[in-house]
C-alpha cells in the first residue's frame, strides 16, 4: 500500500492508508482529511459493500491493536529527570554564545569602516589642497620655480646635489 498525498479524493483505499499510517484515533489523522475520512468511515460501515466493510474492519482492528500496545508506553517524564534538566541548563555558558566568540568576519566592518573613513578624509583633503593651492611659486625676481627647481632646493636642504646644477 503506497500512501498518497493529502490532495486526493477520499475513498476507502485512502481511508485504509490513513489507518495504516496514523492509527485508529481520528485525532491523529491529517487535519485536512479528518472530517471527510470520518464521514466516509461511518458511511462505509453502514452502507458499503461487504468487501469495503471487511477491508475497513481489518484495517481498523490492526490500527487499534497497535495503538493499544503503544498506549502502555505513554508514561510521564519523571519529575526528578525534569528537575535535573532544569538545573543542568540553568546557567548556560556565556562563552559559547555566538556573539561572544571571536568572529573575524563580524569584526571586519569594525576594522575597515574607520580606516575607510580616514582614507576618504585624506583623499578629500588632498583634492582640496590640489584645487586651491597654486603650484607655481614666485621667487620675487620675476621667474617662477619649476618642479625641478623645487627638487633642487629639496636636495640642497639635505646637503646633496641633484646633479643638474653641475651642468
Amino acid at each position: 500500500m503506497t500512501p498518497k498525498t493529502m490532495t486526493g479524493v477520499m475513498n476507502v483505499t485512502r481511508l485504509t492508508e490513513i489507518l495504516a499510517a496514523y492509527g485508529a484515533a481520528p485525532a491523529r489523522w491529517p487535519e485536512g482529511e479528518r472530517a471527510a475520512a470520518q464521514a466516509l468511515f461511518a458511511r462505509s460501515l453502514a452502507m458499503g459493500t461487504p468487501a469495503e466493510r471487511a477491508m475497513l474492519a481489518e484495517a481498523l482492528a490492526e490500527a487499534e491493536a497497535l495503538d493499544g500496545a503503544l498506549t502502555g508506553l505513554v508514561a510521564p517524564v519523571p519529575d526528578d529527570a525534569m528537575a535535573r534538566l532544569t538545573a543542568a541548563v540553568a546557567f548556560p555558558p556565556a562563552q559559547i554564545r555566538q556573539d561572544s566568540r571571536f568572529d573575524l568576519f563580524a569584526m571586519l566592518p569594525m576594522i575597515f569602516k574607520p580606516a575607510a573613513a580616514v582614507g576618504a578624509m585624506m583623499a578629500a583633503l588632498g583634492l582640496f589642497v590640489g584645487f586651491t593651492v597654486d603650484p607655481a611659486y614666485s621667487s620675487g625676481d620675476g621667474s617662477d620655480y619649476t618642479v625641478s627647481q623645487n627638487a633642487d632646493a629639496g636636495f640642497a636642504a639635505f646637503g646633496q646635489d641633484s646633479g643638474d646644477s653641475a651642468q
Binding site: 492508508e17 495504516a20 493499544g68 502502555g72 517524564v77 559559547i96
Partner: protein, 209 residues
C-alpha cells in the same frame, strides 16, 4: 510592546514583558529574547518544553540518562542558536524537535554505541527506566520492539504517536515531505507489528508472511 533589538549584528523583533508576563509570551517571542541573552526567557522555554523534549529523547534513546544528555544538548543549542533562528513560517517546536531527533540520531551513529537492533530486550535495568518505560512484561516487549525499529521509522512514530505532532509538524521535524512521512509511518507500524508478533505479543492482526 514590540521593539527592534540589535543582537550580535542582527535585528530582531523583541517583546518587552514584565517578569510575571514572561509566561504568556509565545515561543517565538521567547526565542527572540533569548537571542538577546535573556536568561529568564530561556528558563521559561526550558520549563515549557523540557518534559516533551525529555519524552521524545527517552523514546529515541535507550535509557533515561542518555535522554537527559540529549535534552541538555538540545537546550544548550537553543541558547547558542536563538539569535540566528528565523521562523520563516515554521514553528519553534518544529525546529526544536528536529534538533532533538538529529542529536539522537547522531548519538546512535557513534561507534561506541552498541547497535540497537542487536540489543534485544532493554539492557537498561535501572529502576527508574524500568518503572517509567516498562511497567509490565508486555510494555517491555513493546519498548524493545520500538527500539528495534530503524531510527527514522522510530522517530516518525514517536513524533506522530507519542508527541502528538501533526503530520505537517512531524514532517518538518524530520525534514521530509508529508507523503514521505506517511510512508515512513506505514512502514514503522508494519515493522513494529511484525516485531511484536515475533516476540509473541498479541497485536490483533493476522500473522504476516
Amino acid at each position: 510592546m514590540l521593539r527592534a533589538a540589535r543582537t550580535g549584528g542582527r535585528t530582531s523583533q523583541v517583546v518587552e514583558r514584565p517578569t510575571g508576563r514572561m509566561q504568556d509570551a509565545s515561543d517565538e517571542e521567547l526565542v527572540a529574547l533569548i537571542g538577546g541573552g535573556d536568561r529568564r526567557a530561556y528558563h521559561v522555554l526550558v520549563e515549557r518544553h523540557g518534559r516533551r523534549v525529555l519524552g521524545l529523547a527517552r523514546r529515541m534513546m535507550r535509557n533515561l540518562a542518555e535522554a537527559e544528555d540529549v535534552s541538555q544538548d538540545a537546550f544548550l543549542r537553543v541558547w547558542q542558536k536563538a539569535g540566528e533562528w528565523q521562523p520563516r513560517g515554521a514553528r519553534f517546536t518544529t525546529w526544536l524537535y528536529r534538533v532533538v531527533v538529529n542529536l539522537c540520531l547522531d548519538r546512535k551513529r557513534r561507534p561506541t554505541m552498541a547497535p540497537i537492533e542487536a540489543a534485544g530486550d532493554p539492557a537498561d535495568s535501572r529502576p527508574d527506566a524500568e518503572q517509567t518505560l516498562a511497567k509490565s512484561q508486555q510494555d517491555r516487549h513493546v519498548s524493545a520492539a520500538l527500539q528495534a525499529l530503524p531510527e527514522r521509522q522510530r522517530a516518525a512514530l514517536v513524533l506522530s504517536y507519542f508527541e502528538g505532532l501533526s503530520n505537517v509538524e512531524a514532517a518538518g521535524a524530520l525534514e521530509l515531505s508529508v507523503s514521505a512521512l506517511e510512508s515512513l509511518l506505514v512502514r514503522a507500524r508494519r515493522a513494529l507489528r511484525q516485531e511484536l508478533q515475533s516476540r509473541g505479543v498479541e497485536t490483533g492482526a493476522k500473522e504476516e508472511p
